[in-house]
């Protein structure tokens, strides 16, 4: 139904990802993954811990090559990492410690896109303002709090103006207060930039709050269990939010057998 290239920023088709364990035996992390992400969508991947959420994101980013299937981003098949798929990681050490916050953004723009220095600085300040840390532009990363580091990393990724922003549990290592603050800010940033986002998380609340659609993976070897439409639920106190959270929790904790029975509890599936 959505096969036109203009309709999907990301197309994942029958992707299978195989790791080798230390003894050289193959281990299937992801199997038969197929889905599309629409322009301007906030697409969330959730699953039990260790199921391969991050693996799937790394494949879209180009760090891992699928053993079968293909991944197309903005009309081009993915074979290697590139700035059109900017990644924000969970670790606080993703900023170059030897550059200031501004320097990190300027360097990324110059290295990845060949933007001239003056333009790069302008654009860097613009995105630092967007995430609310322009005042810390001339500080070195180690002087910043965890939340500010993650804001800087998001600003750096956004400054590249990627086809898609890949967020790998970016708030996972933050305290609860900073975390909910950044969740709200991410929504606000999305509203202003309309950037397409794929977010990996293990938080049901975060998934329902931030996502338009939530892809639920089964435990490893992970297959797609269901793609839940959560666009309607943004107000955490609404009954839709509560119902969707409940539904996701069911999908995540109940064993695979109940899978078919659980489908169709009033939520759209793809």
């Amino acid at each position: 139904m959505e096969r036109q290239p203009t309709d999907a920023v990301v197309t994942v088709e029958g992707v299978r990802i195989v790791y080798r364990d230390p003894n050289g035996r193959p281990f299937v992390a992801i199997d038969e993954a197929s889905f599309t992400v629409r322009p301007g969508e906030k697409f969330v991947i959730i699953g039990p811990s260790g199921c391969g959420k991050t693996t799937l994101l790394k494949a879209i980013a180009g760090f891992l090559a699928p053993a079968a299937g293909r991944i197309v981003v903005a009309g081009r098949e993915v074979h290697e990492p590139g700035p059109d798929r900017a990644v924000v990681f969970q670790d606080f050490d993703q900023l170059f410690p030897w550059r200031t916050v501004l320097g990190n953004l300027v360097y990324a723009l110059r290295a990845a896109k060949g933007v001239p220095r003056a333009t790069a600085e302008q654009r860097a300040h613009h995105f630092l303002k967007l995430v609310g840390i322009d005042a810390a532009a001339h500080k070195y990363p180690h002087m910043l709090s965890g939340g500010m580091k993650q804001r800087a990393a998001i600003a750096r990724a956004l400054a590249l103006e990627p086809a898609i922003l890949l967020l790998d549990e970016p708030f996972g290592a933050l305290d609860a207060i900073t975390r909910s603050q950044l969740q709200r800010e991410l929504n606000e940033i999305w509203r202003r930039t309309q950037v397409t986002i794929i977010l990996v998380t293990h938080s049901i609340q975060e998934a329902v709050y931030l996502g338009h659609r939530v892809l639920v993976l089964t435990p490893a070897p992970a297959v797609i269990r269901e793609i839940v439409d959560t666009a309607a639920a943004e107000d955490v106190e609404s009954s839709a939010f509560v119902a969707l959270s409940h539904h996701l929790r069911e999908l995540l904790v109940t064993p695979g057998q109940a899978e078919r029975a659980a489908v169709g509890a009033g939520h759209a599936t793809e």
Binding site: A61, F63, E80, P81, G82, P83, R85, A86, V87, F89, D91, D93, Q94, F96, P97, W98, Y107, A108, A111, A112, Y140, P141, H142, M143, L160
Partner: protein, 281 residues
Amino acid sequence: MATETTREIALATPTPVAAPRARRGLPTTARRALILLAILLLWQGYVVVSNVPPLLIPSPLAVAQALLQDIASGRIPAATYTTLYSLVVGTLLGTLAGFALASLAVLFRPGQDLLALLSAILNPLPSIAVLPLAMIWFGLNETAIIFVIVQATLWPIAIATDMGFRTISPTLHMVARNLGLRGLRLVVDVLLPAALPHILSGLKAGWAFGWRTVVAAELVFGVAGAAGGLGWYINDSRYFLNTANVFAGLVVISLLGILVDLLFTLIEQQTVVKWGMKHGV
């Protein structure tokens, strides 16, 4: 002014466990200067009281006099220049070669094997042992000395740099690849600065080897005559039984060693400490 203060606090907080400085009274430097002065006084007193022949132990005053005389006459500055010139050129070449080997090792599999093999064979070799070979190849000249210094500095630097490249945070490496960096660009823009704490320790170790090697090589070259460095100056002074000048040469070598250590500390303060990659000393 306000930023200055915040910065100082940010830098100072991570090291509350630093050694208790100056428990009471004088600051460290003053205390140590006093001890040094006491040692010099004891030395001077011993020479005056014991009547030991100045040929064996000259008084500190005689050493100071010899030092000032030869600084004024230009002998010590010329010898210092010669030694530092070989050392700087040798260390520079050794560093470049070390970086090149470590870069090959991180970019290509065979490069990794090459570095492992060469460093296993050549690193344990005391570099001064290569001097006779260098003399056969290059003759009794500066090139031979520089060659030996390269051999002394290359391996510690190559090994430390390689270690630095290998222990870079996987996240930082992925960020670099995400920006589309690879090859030489990846090495120069990301791997080298990320490995800087390791590289600086490698440079320190390499410099220490090189420093010992250059003085030893110059002692051997005492026979060669003209345009010698500090090692040659010491050996020459010994030949003419100018013991005070032998001491003066040793003082200069020791002072230069201290100065270079200070230089390294300064470089660390301005780079890895400032960037939070290593806590202050």
